[in-house]
Amino acid sequence: MKRSVWIIGLLLPVLILGIATADWQAYKEMFMAGQYETLAQQCDATEAEISADPGNYIIYKYCGLAKLKLYEQKRSATDLTDAIDYLERSIAFSYSEEAAFHLGQARMMSLDQLTEGENQDERELAAINEMWESIRNLHAMENFNREVLSDGMLIWTRDYRDLLIERILKDEDNPARLHLLTAKVRMLADRYERVDPTKGESEVRQSNLRIFKDWMDELMRMSYFDNDIVVGMYKYKADRHMEKYNQTAETEDQFTKALHGYGEALKRAKTNLARAALYTDIAYLCSLYNSEDKEKLVAYYKTGFNHAHQGLLILKQIKENEQNTGEEFPYPPDMTELTSKVQKAYGSNLTGLCYFHYLRKDYRSAVAMRNFAFDTGFDWDGKVTTLLLIADAADKLASEHHRVPKMFRTYKQVCLFASSRAFKTVLKNHNGRIPQNSEEFCRVYNNYINYLRRFGETIEARNLELQFGAVCPQE
């Protein structure tokens, strides 16, 4: 008897505690397990019970969050309306940052469904303020002095950033709102100025913090880009898509989105510096493109090459007019870095283009690229290959036109000039010294010697042979 009293005495409190917290815990567990559909159905089916539950504001919160998730998956307007309704009810009973943040998020998502005259501006501002206040409160709770931020804060700031950017792009024709959104973007970026990623608790945390800090530094700089937040945000968004593109077919949509973003930014850019940076971005992005579809590949190389060419022309113009300071904006891109990037992209796209023209036996097109390869005052990784491809294409065309002396002479000159440039470039790469056991050097040398001999330039060939023959025996 006594033992049973003991057991009952111990078990009862546990049972009572369990029952008292079971209701909202069950909803929470369902949400955490990702059972959004079931949870949403249960929320709709047990409305009366929920409203009578003392923990109803927590249940409403999870119902709202589940509906929001469903909206993100299915894009059904009813889910979004329900999500807003549940979250509003949750906040009406008791304020929580999480409910407020997601309510703001849901309201932002609902803006596009509003018809004109529904105070879209006011609603947008209210939603933005709702989200921002939640972040501020969370930040305050984490203590403003902390140099590392919780994962939750990182996620909220990322989502808030994305929604701000989305609104900036949508409010392009509303300058008053754009100024406000610009300030909001900078307020957000400001919060990361004091964050020290090295103080993260683990390597993963440190890495996450570093990524976020870099994103926010970039966000701050881009808010000034071209003195136009819309241009800056198109570029910023495109940069993030480019980060996600890993040269696979699975991430090709990221490539397309990035290209679209840079293109939109370029359409709106007003300063030469911004244009140069965007031409460079497009050129660089195209040089990264990889696909089994050769036609697409060539098309993107061509796009990339044209943009790189434009970028170089603008950079040249900027350098010539260095005194003209009328086209400035804060945090301008580093000119040296920009020049080097555009040159790299130029070369890379040109090499790709020549290669595919050559592969398709379109020798004329390959030879037509010669001036773009000859006139550059800089080198790139595939420059020698490009010159050799042009030389070989020209050689083939010369053979084809051996009965037309004028054309033969032209192609002969192109071939010899291209191979000579290739040879000089490879020699320059070895600081002018005769390299020992360099396969690349010997390949270029042998090609050049062969072209010289083939086109009757035997004296020149002999001279070279005397100089380099010992290092590179004839194949």
């Binding site: 003991w6 990702g34 927590i58 804060m153 300058p175 008053a176 100024h179 300030a183």
Partner: protein, 354 residues
């Protein structure tokens, strides 16, 4: 009674306690889920269902307030930065309203009004900030930050084109922290910090060119319902004589609405310590103020070049509101008294000298 015998009773008591605590948790179930990470995705979310200030030691409040104010001021700087980047008044309005929202939400309401209300009803041990800031001047550690917020608001009003409002806010800031002009701020994020004095001296020339004068509206027996009924659609300020920029009228309407909603102490929340007035800024002239959509004749406001003559009282009248000039009788009496006192003092000084 042995311990062994009394155990079941103890258990029963424990059971009752547990029941009580379970019921208490029913009342505040949010505390149950404290500290858990969730956003519904696999990734961690912010601490949900957590009690708001868990883990913050009570003595850290002043520091948190301090840091919160630092961020408020930083945010206001970002808004002013954008204010400087536009010449269009309409584009400036939204930024100024956001600054007003921040100042009210994070400075005026929690640190001044709320505390005034609390201290009226309770002998509440205040956080050491609050309305004391206004009373105690620079002695309070938060005073520089509060003063900075008002000074920044002043700078913003200056950029909006209201020199009088700018000067009023700077004067308000100086009352709280006399050395406010020596504080440094970073308005343009890409530039170095500058003192508030530099910002003021750089821009005062432009502000001085505007001619709007302060009009003070004092609340008296205002019903909450009358305030609740006001909205952007039924408040209108018109200048029948013309010649007043449309923008001034629009701002006056917005300021009136904001003032009624935020600053006027209604009968429901009457307190002697909370300010019960707000300001409009209009060029001298005659204006019509309409506060409803009925056929009622609008109230006439006459704005004098001297702001001391522009005091109005707003009062609930039946279901609506009325506004009339504050009687000057008391003022004259006060002035006469002051004059008499001054004369007496002067004569006593003269007596002493001789």
């Amino acid at each position: 009674m042995t311990v062994r015998k009394s155990l079941p009773i103890i258990m029963l008591l424990a059971l009752l306690l547990a029941l009580g605590s379970a019921l208490a948790q029913d009342d505040q179930p949010a505390e149950e889920g404290g500290g858990e990470a969730e956003t519904g995705e696999a990734e961690a979310g912010p601490a949900a269902d957590a009690p708001p200030a868990e883990g913050i030691a009570p003595d850290s409040f002043p520091q948190l307030l301090n840091l919160n104010l630092e961020w408020v001021n930083s945010d206001i700087c970002r808004l002013i930065e954008e204010l400087r980047r536009t010449d269009q008044p309409q584009e400036k309005r939204e930024l100024v309203e956001q600054i007003e929202y921040l100042v009210y939400k994070h400075v005026e309401y929690p640190l001044v009004f709320k505390q005034a209300e609390l201290s009226d009803s309770l002998d509440f041990e205040r956080i050491g900030t609050t309305s004391d800031v206004v009373d105690a001047g620079s002695a309070n550690p938060l005073a520089p930050l509060v003063a900075e917020a008002f000074a920044l608001y002043g700078i913003a009003k200056g950029y909006e084109g209201y020199a009088a409002a700018a000067n009023d806010q700077i004067a308000r800031a100086k009352k709280i922290y006399p050395q406010v002009e020596s504080l440094t701020i970073k308005i343009d994020n890409f530039e170095d910090r500058k003192t508030i004095k530099t910002w003021l001296s750089d821009t005062m020339g432009n502000w001085a060119s505007t001619n709007a004068v302060r009009v003070t509206i004092h609340g008296k027996n205002v019903l909450q319902k009358a305030v609740d009924d006001l909205n952007g659609g039924n408040v209108a300020v018109a200048a029948p004589e013309g010649g007043v920029p449309e923008y001034y009228l629009l701002v006056a309407e917005r300021d009136f609405l904001r003032g009624m909603q935020r600053y006027i102490v209604t009968d429901d929340q009457l307190t002697g310590r909370r300010p019960n007035e707000f300001f409009l800024y209009l060029p001298p002239g005659t204006y019509k103020l309409k506060m409803d959509t009925t056929e009622r004749i609008p109230v006439e406001l006459t704005v004098d070049a001297d702001p001391d003559n522009n005091h109005y009282i707003i009062e609930s009248l039946e279901e609506g509101l009325t506004c009339y000039p504050r009687p000057k009788v008391k003022q004259t009496k006060k002035k006469e008294k002051k004059k008499k006192k001054k004369q007496e003092e002067e004569s006593s000084v003269l007596d002493d000298e001789f």
